[in-house]
Amino acid sequence: MSFPVWILSDAPILAILIPMGAAGVALTGKVFPRLRGLRHLAIVALLPGVVVLAGTVGPVFRDGTVVHYALGGFTAEPGIILVLDGLAWISSALITFVGILVAVASLSDRKFDAAYFFFLLMTVAGMQSVVFTGDLFTMFVSFEIVAIGVYVLIAWERTPQGLLASLKYLFLSSVGILFFLLGVFLIYRDLGTLSMLRILEVAPELPALGGMSGQMLPPAGAARSVPLAIAALCVGIGVRTAFIPFHTWLPEAHAWAPHPVSALLSGVLIKISFLAMVRIVTVFGAGYLLPLFLWIGGVTALVAVFWALMQHDAKRLLAFHSISQMGYILAAWGAGGAMAEVAAFSHAISHALFKSLLFIVVGVAIERSGTRNVYRMRAAGRGAPLLVVGLLVGALAISGIPPFNGYVSKGLISSVVYGSPVYLMLKVASVATAASFIKLSMVLLPARPEGEIVAPEGTSRRRLPLAEGAVILVLVLAVTAGGLLGGPFGEFLATMTGAIGGAGSGGLAGAAGAPGAVGAAGAGGATAAAGAPGAVGAAGAGGATAAAGAAGGAAPFFSGLFAPDRIGDALLPLVGGAVVAGLVVSSPGRRISHRVSAFAPQLRTVLMFFVVGLVLFAVVPLIG
């Protein structure tokens, strides 16, 4: 790499500052309304982020380098330290990629003015800092930066539904973040540190609590209330991640946000909170929570997909699928084992790409036809073949049909959860997924002769805007490439997450060589194996075994990726899905689903779930 070294050592802060600077450019456009071109300039200002990522991929990938950047040079305890490791790199790349595409997709609409770009880019900057942060309190602040941006963006169109959805999300996530703060407090009280890098130093017994083996020891001494603290942290973040007790804000918020914003929310935001949760659980060795996540994931995937099947609002349908797919991701991660994290992140990335694609395509279709109702929208692709391609590719990818990326990542997940009852749940969910996308694809059918289509004059024939067209094209290519290059890409991910390879950096816990020499190496997979201290950049015993296991598990999976019987397996849900879809769109099916989808829980009911969820997370370690 010919990139200067300072790019590597300063990469974390650059990745945060670049979108922030771009937001500044957009804000200038707000102050001086005549400078309309600044919206475009703001996007150009995002591009150096790509350079930073490209410059750091080499060292992080090849050598397993973990970069620590002490903000302002304060390396001592309260100082803020940013960490760039494999996981952070992947997530940051995802944010940058989707962030740029979403910004470009917003360009064609005049209602997205400079202020909109300011909030959008601040959200991106906030997400970057969630990814890179090395301590819990900075994580809180970053989450709130993201949240404030998102509240504004959801309500941007000022539709009543948008306002209400935003308010609902605000209340829920504020309560969630209060719990998060409570958890931070307990951690600080008992362990005396907030830095995720120093947890091992102050409480070396923690990572031994849970683990791949699943044995649970009662926490000793000061760490007694740590399970409660972790429960509080998980609940706080869980609200943003939207798995089942905490999912209720998502359908409204994602459905009524402006279309590009929906793409960002569904595509990236929920993944980022998932990443934060992975970090926390890994660092605190809360491996005992993994079975819980496995089950929550399975239930989430299954229940949410049926909810999705009932929707007639195209965007709500997609929103419920986001919940369902998060369920897949959680289940994969909860399965534990070396490949689990790879499967989870692989699907997180796949989902980010195809769901952004779907939201943007459906958004354009809604704008063109003037209705959100799946049953009324017809001939959505007329005059815009790219729209048809985009919708079909997205739908096939989410149903796990080769050769798109959903096929690879869903296959990985199946291989990870195989043998558990959750496997069956996910299989059923995938049938329903296929069904609901067959239902969604009905919008491509030709218009009915009786003229049920309700396109307002002059909108139906609107040409596909150039910016959106380009974004759709890029995403289609990315989704396809993710499938065709599934093997190499999967191995890349496995190396980055530390499941394979010598440099054991499975997360912050394995971040060897922290300032102050918190040497602990070898956190392979989802669990923080208590590693040998001091071994900088070298995998400890735990990491080595994990790597061996991963290599064994991964190689056959990737080599036979496009074997005929595998492809046949993947096509089965499509057949089942067609049957289910037929049932749902039949007139009794419609009546039932109409009644179900009209049911929206009230805010107070929703908040009650909270307490239930918290208790659930707190009790699990006790009954284990």
Partner: protein, 114 residues
Amino acid sequence: VTWYLIAAIFLIGLWGIIAEPNLIRKVIALSIANSGITVMYVYFAALSGDEAPILPVSGTAVDPIPHALMLTAIVVGICVVALALVLVQQLYRRYGTLDMREIEDRVWHAEEHE
């Protein structure tokens, strides 16, 4: 006892968010719950010493970190409350009521007839 009082503040706030139908009261409750957390941190810090952490210190200074954290958290909380009030005001303009249940009813019903 102080710990219980702090817990009470937090829980009152939480209850307010859950049970109050009035949106303004909900926002106030959010603010109260926020204060509960803030007071908790500050009280914990206050137990750790008996003097303000301003150099030079003669006795034991209190732990300054929680204060710094809470300063940040308060600012963040203010932003969120301000934003919540904006949203509430917009909803009030449209529907002329602050009752969450009624607004929810009307919004989702409007969607039905769309």
